[in-house]
Each structure stands twice: as structure tokens, then as C-alpha cells.
Symmetry: C4
Subunit: 273 residues, 4 copies
């Protein structure tokens, strides 16, 4: 009896922790997913540092206004980043908002982030740029109003990644895993682009290469291979989120995380040790 | 029966260890707080590397002369950094002195450190600069005399952060948590500013943005969210300081660290595992 | 009754994990070795992230066409990188393909990677350069066809290391240990060359120095000293691969990894603790 | 019944592991000390990666010819680096030879390494420079002959640190702790100098400041504070070397490492947990 909603909540908690563990998120930033059966809702943690998020902390919000379905708790102030992208892009199933240093450097220098290696092409052929100053003048830079979220979503357009001037970046995709992959490898790409610039000229991928490499690397094979290694690191670090009910703890954990065969095998072994 | 002094000593020990764990302090640097009920005194560890500080190591010192209330032990030679800021700034409740690499680079290059992202605005709209050479000529660079401490406090003025040429930085705030947050995010800001400069021009926050972003990010919500994640990392690394008496160890630990709800919940769970 | 094939499979699993642990491989990249008794075959893991590879995952492939000896599983798409180098270079007994950041920066900037310290000379006096765009135009950048693999092998020529434009690098050697050493120290060399360039001019080794230093550092002494320290780190991190059959677990593990005397002694001690 | 020779062997093993843990040494590099009662001899590990060195691995060598007092084992080929400095400098009681990246970058760019912060002054007011090419032309860059060691010692002169072109650095001092401190903070200084250069001009310490700051920071207080924190990290990481005989294991360990009061207290507590 698989429960897609429970599975997705566990996957969101996992993605939060993976992105902390891979150096992308710190106490701030968040990962969401569109509700698996009701496209007018999305799932996001309540107000918590990402490394503390458990599946039980994932709440439902309305795409229309970013408000929680059930009120009474504190929530992230930047929920409109997520809701407005789900509103504008029916194809988007997951969103990550982050402040990873290498990508943020481009958002401070207004420098163009371009794919410089095959895995970096996962961020999309072109990265969009948005700055709250342009439409809204002086703000706290936080994107908290629907008008701000819609402005950001317009800047994202059909792309997958949008830099937010002096603030961070937002990444969209058709699954939590794709968004995690896209987020991690856009950061690796940014680090590489800075280092290559220090050495001289940056030779980026051609549009054709970026299209083919991006398409190849967001297939289930590479996504699963990366996800398996990130999950293993979480396990080893003791950072795996709580999954399933306490009394049936082991089985739901395996199911929910959608572990690949390789991961399952590893899991069994480590339990033996 | 809450004991604000005991709580504060535990929070100071925590902040010392958090700042080591986040890469800000090494064997040197220190965190202090003004005495919770006697504003003419402040609390600071005796002579120890920050990662070794326990609540029992926190001593009381006089703001007037930086001398310990009870003599007989070795103390940091730079206590006047703390005492002279408490003397000049009645609003300041906590101080951190550090030599974090990214911030120190600005204090070696005499380069202006400016807010380049919303969280960096927590360091204040403007960062002050002081160099011992200007008033005192050749010294060991350590700030050990009251005249030196007062010169530094004058340079800090109404700001929150002062760079100390070829030496480090000192950060002031209205709570230990605010000072920890300000210290961590001024370092992240410095790292980002260096990386952005490598890419070309640095587009910093406008004064209005810096004011609004700084004000937002030093509220209890963001401070608590960051503190919770730092505390969790300490716990996981086995670096949490000893708290409370041995026989009632678990409960005072939870109280003293002023754990948020999220943190408390996490703590309970990890105890179950 | 030593089993050279079993030993080699264990050494390949170890090398995969070592190169992850030393920051060279992430979820992508792979290490292979020529079959110890049949030079027309080579050994490579099935489709897995390197940090998950166990000796049991190592499969046999034909040098002639990069196809697995036994079909029915998913495999890396870039097997021709390995097969075509074994085909062109009978002296090569092991190959590593990776995307380590420092080396990749040179492959993005088309900058010459040169030996700048004695240990860096292990990568060879000269590093070759290849770009898929030159012979094949727009591709996904992955090297998946025999014609692509042969083009890469021609660029490698008699050298030990070839940069792959906007993609990564491939390293060849006469043993798994030599390839691991060459891979690690070419990355350290790349990091140093970037840092030295930031300081001004880069003074590299003369051809004579590079030849002598490269020859010295790929002897069994230095290779074993480095391997011992990498193996120790894996052990400490709990990342050592499973070795031997379960019932005779301890002894085959020691044999298979070809632990040096020093390593054996350490192993015994840690078992006592 | 203190045994100064046993204590010193334990301190050398500790320093080897500390310098690995602090990112200075990898599989290569070594730390030695002059024999505590016979100035014509010095103590150095046999041929091992530094993180594997135990007190039992420390051997005695003659200052006159760098040969071991008892033959029959493999030793580091660069022993003359140590012997020739002990020969030329009766005041030197300990030596470290390393290839730490930040310092090595200066030895590749022939850039002047200067004290840029108070702790960096521990490396000495002036850092000497030597290149094997000048006196010996093309070599493997390893310093293995007495003539090479004496040339290096002449370049070191009365200074504490000598850069070795395209190779590394060697650091001398009057105790193992001073050499460890000097080594760590020369590397931190090098990292800072590179970062400050990226920001613009580097404002270094004046000669007077460097003299006063260097003198202050190599006193027993700062040396002990840093040593205590490094030892604690080793303990926590499970990297503390074996000390004393097995049956009296706990007490000799505490004595031998010359733990400060703070460290002793910490040790007792962690044993309780």
C-alpha cells in the first residue's frame, strides 16, 4: 500500500538534509514539491533550519496565495517564491531556494553563469537573472509578497534556474531529485567557472552541447546515481531523517526514500555490521 | 527556578564552541557577555582555547578595569577589548573578538567590507576600521592596555563590527546569539565579497536595503533558526559543553541552552535512537 | 592460495572509495584495471556511484568493444574511455576517469597544466589535451562511442594524463596504485598552480627535474606510503569496502588490500581498541 | 619517574598527527627533535606516513651523517634536511619539513612570504628562500645528500623558516610545540596573504611589530593553548597515538602528552561519558 504523499514528504526532508550536507544550504533556504495528487497545493517544511526537517514537519500550502492549508504555526516568509513558480509553471513539480556561495558570487557580481562542464549543463542552457531592486526598489531583499514572487517567476520564464541579485538563487524541476541534482551541479559549475576565470579565458559549452548534456544528465540513471551517493553520506553521518511510524520503522524508511537497488543492498549490509 | 547567570554562562560556552565549529575561531579569540543583573561586570572564559570552554570556566570581570572579580588564575591578555566596549556602549550585551580568515583578509588589505547579501547585512550597514599602529605605533598588535581598548571602542563608535588592521575583528550586539549570528554572517559576507570581486564588479546592498535586511535578520526568528542548526551540529559532533550538575544533567542542559521547540523535539528524538 | 583476480577487484573497489574520500570523485568517474591474466579484458564496476562500489560489483569487459563479458546489467556509458586506452597502450594496467575541480578548471580554460612541485611530476612531464568538439562537433560531451574513445587514446599518446575539454581528465598507469597516486597528485598540482598564479609567475619544474621527480615518486615506497594513509582514512571513516567471504572476513580483508607492514600493524591495534 | 626520551617520542608522534589533522602534512613530510640528552643525535620516525606514526616508530639518528643508530629498516630519504640543520644550529631542538599548499604556492611563485597578522609573526620576521636548482641543477628535488642539506641549512641561516623552491618548506624551533605552532601559523599567514592580495594591496607587519608579536606568540601560554586544542581534536577524531605500555595505558598517556590542566580536565570528563 504505497502512500505517494508520505513518500514525497520523506523525499523533501531528505533533499533538505542532502543539500545541507553537500554545502548548498545552511540554516536558510528551503525545498518544496507540488502535491502529488492536488496540483493546487504544494508541500514545504514549517519554519525550521533545513538540517532539522523531518517528514512530519512538511505542511501543505495553497499555490494561489502561499498560505498554509491549516493555520497556527510559524512558516518561512518566502513561501511566495515557491507558490508563484508553481502558479506560472504547471510543469514544475519541485523548487529549491538557496544562497550557496559560489552561485551567490555571480548574483553579487551580475556575472553570467554559463555551463562549463557536462554536469553543469543540468542547470539549463541559460540561467535567468532577477533583482528585487528593479521592480521594487529598496526592500529587505526577502521575497515575501505575491507581486514579488510573480516578478521572480516571470524572470525565471521557461528556464530552470534564476539568480536573485545580492540574495541567492531559485531552481525548478520536474521532481525533487532533478531539483537537487540541478542545484548541486549548478554550484559545482559556478565554482569551476570562477577557478577557470582565474586561469584565463572560460570556454563554455556550445548551445548544442549544453542541450544534449543537460538532457542526458537529468535522466533517471545519473539522477539516481548521485542521489544514492548523497543518501549514503547522510546515513553515514547519522543525518537520515526519521521515516515511517516508529513500530514499522525499518520498512517504510526503505520504501519512502525510493532507494535504488544499489542503495538497498548497501543498506542491508550496513545493518548487518 | 531559572538561574539567568547559569544560563548565560552556558550560552557563552556554547557560543565559543559554535564559533570554533563554524570555522570562525581557532585556538584564539573569545566571546563575552555583560552580567545579566550587574551591568558593571562582564562574563568571559578563563585562559582556554574556545573549544575547551565549559560553563564552569566562565569568570566575572569588572567593566571598569577588565580585572577578574576573584584573582588567582591566568586570563586572556586582551580582556580590555571587551571591557572598553561595555564601558563605551551601555546597549552592548555581548562581544566577540576573532581572527576569521575571510574578514582578516580585509583587515590586511585595508579593503572596505560591505554588505553584499541580505544575511551579510547583519554585520551592520557600515563596518568600522581601526589599526593599533595609528595611535600606538609598533606593538605586539595585541590589545592589552586600557588606552588601547578605549581607542578601539572609539573606532567602533555606534557600529556593530570593527576590523582591526593586521589582527582581526571585534563584533558587538545585544545578545550572545546576535553576536554569534553577526560574526558568522560577516565572515560569509567577506568570503562572498572576495569571490564576487574575482568575477568582476561587486554590487553591494544600498543603504536602505542594508538597513532593512539587517533589521529583519537579527530578529529572534532568524537568530533562533541559525542557532538551532549550530547547536545540532555541536551535539552531533560530541562538542556540546557540559551543562548543569552531574546528577541532574539532562534537564538543565535542555533549559540552559534555551533550545527552541524545534531543537527540543530533535533532542528528544536523538535520545531515543 | 592467493587469488590475483579477487585481490585486484578489491583493490579497484578501494581505489574508487579512496578517490571519493580524497575529493577527486563524486557520484561520477570510475577506476578500472586490466585483467591480471587475460590482457584482452579489463575490470570495472557496474553502474554505481564510486563510494558504493564493493569488490562484488566489479565486472569483466572486453578490451575490443567495451562490452561486458556477461550481459544483463546496467553499465557506465563511458566504458570506451577505458577499453580504447587498454587497446592502444599494452603497457597500461589501470585507468581512472574523473572530473576533479582543480584539474577540470584547466580543461575549461584550455590552460597548460605543468608540474610545479616534485609530487606533481607524478602526472608526467607533459599533460595531453583533447576536446570532443574538435573531432565530433556538438555531443553530450560523454565519450560513449569507440571512435570517440580511440580519438581520446590517440590524444593521450605515450603520456599518462589527458585533459578532456569542458569535461574532466583521464589518467593511465601501470598499476591501480600508480593511477591513484597520479590522479591525487595531479589534482594537488593543479590547485597549487592556480594559487601560485594568483601570486604572480609560476616557476615550474624543468624537464629534467620533472623526469627525475616523476620517476622517484612512482616507486613502490612513495606509492605505498600514500596508499597506507588513504586506506587508514577509509578505515577510520567506516568506508572500507567489504572484502572476502563473510565467514572468513578478517583475513581476506588484510590480504586483499595488500596492506603494507605499517598498515597491518595499525590494523591489529585498532582491532584491539 | 619521568622519562624525557619516552615523552619526547610521544610528543613527536603527536606533532606528526596534529600536523596531518590541521591540513599541513599529507602522506609526506616529517617532524624531528634533537635527542633530549645527547645533542649529537636526533629523533625521527622510520619510513611511514605521518598519520600512522606511533611513539614506537621514532628512531635515533646521528646529526653527523643522518644515519640511523641501529640499521636494518627503511627510512625517509630526506633525513639530511634535519641533520644538517641540527649541525648548523645548536639552538634548534626541533624541525618540521612539509609541503603545505598555501606555503608551497609562495615557493612556486618565488613570492615573498611576509607576516600579515600577529600570529603569522611566529614564523619569524623574515622567511628565507632556497632552490635546489641554484647549487645543484636538475635533481629529483628531494634533499638527500649532505651537500644539499648543508646548502639548505646555510640558506636558513639564523631564520626559523625556509621556503624550498617548487618543493615545500622547512621550519626550525626550540621545541616540538614551537615548531608545530610556527608551521601551522605560517600556513595560515600564507593563506591570508593570498586572500589579501586578491583584495588589493597587502599591508604587512612592520619589523618592530613582527618582532614583538613573534616573541609574544611563541611563549608557553599561546603555544599551550593551541597545542591543547589540537590535542583535543586528535582525541575526538580517534587519532591520538598509542602512548605508554599497554598495561599502564591511561596514566602514561596523560603524562607523556604533557597535557595542560585544561586538557587533563577535559580528558577526565570524556572518560566519564
Amino acid at each position: 500500500v504505497p502512500d505517494p504523499l508520505a513518500s514525497l514528504r520523506e523525499e523533501i526532508a531528505l533533499a533538505n538534509r542532502i543539500l545541507v550536507h553537500e554545502g548548498i544550504l545552511d540554516a536558510f533556504g528551503h525545498v518544496s514539491a507540488r502535491h502529488p495528487t492536488d496540483p493546487s497545493r504544494f508541500l514545504l517544511s514549517r519554519y525550521l533550519a533545513p538540517e532539522l526537517v523531518e517528514p512530519d514537519d512538511i505542511r501543505e500550502f495553497n499555490v494561489a496565495d502561499a498560505e498554509p492549508v491549516r493555520a497556527g504555526e510559524r512558516h518561512y516568509s518566502e513561501r511566495v517564491i515557491h507558490s508563484c513558480i508553481y502558479e506560472a509553471r504547471p510543469d514544475v513539480m519541485a523548487v529549491c531556494h538557496h544562497h550557496a556561495p559560489a552561485v551567490l558570487a555571480f548574483a553579487i557580481a551580475k556575472a553570467e553563469l554559463v555551463p562549463v562542464f557536462h554536469l553543469g549543463a543540468a542547470m539549463g542552457e541559460k540561467v535567468a537573472y532577477w533583482d528585487s531592486q528593479d521592480d521594487f526598489g529598496d526592500t529587505s531583499l526577502l521575497v515575501t509578497k505575491i507581486a514579488e514572487g510573480r516578478s521572480l517567476a516571470r524572470a525565471l520564464g521557461r528556464h530552470s534556474t534564476v539568480l536573485m541579485g545580492r540574495h541567492g538563487a531559485t531552481v525548478a524541476g520536474n521532481s525533487v531529485r532533478e531539483v537537487a541534482f540541478r542545484t548541486v551541479y549548478s554550484c559545482r559549475n559556478a565554482e569551476l567557472q570562477i577557478q577557470a576565470k582565474l586561469l584565463g579565458q572560460v570556454y563554455s559549452l556550445t548551445p548544442g552541447e549544453a542541450r544534449m548534456a543537460g538532457s542526458h544528465n537529468t535522466r533517471s540513471g545519473p539522477l539516481g546515481r548521485a542521489w544514492d551517493s548523497w543518501v549514503r553520506r547522510l546515513h553515514k553521518a547519522g543525518d537520515f531523517p526519521k521515516t515511517g511510524a516508529t513500530k514499522t520503522r525499518k520498512r517504510p524508511a526503505r520504501r519512502a526514500a525510493k532507494l535504488s537497488l544499489a542503495q538497498k543492498r548497501r543498506g542491508k549490509r550496513s545493518r548487518k555490521n
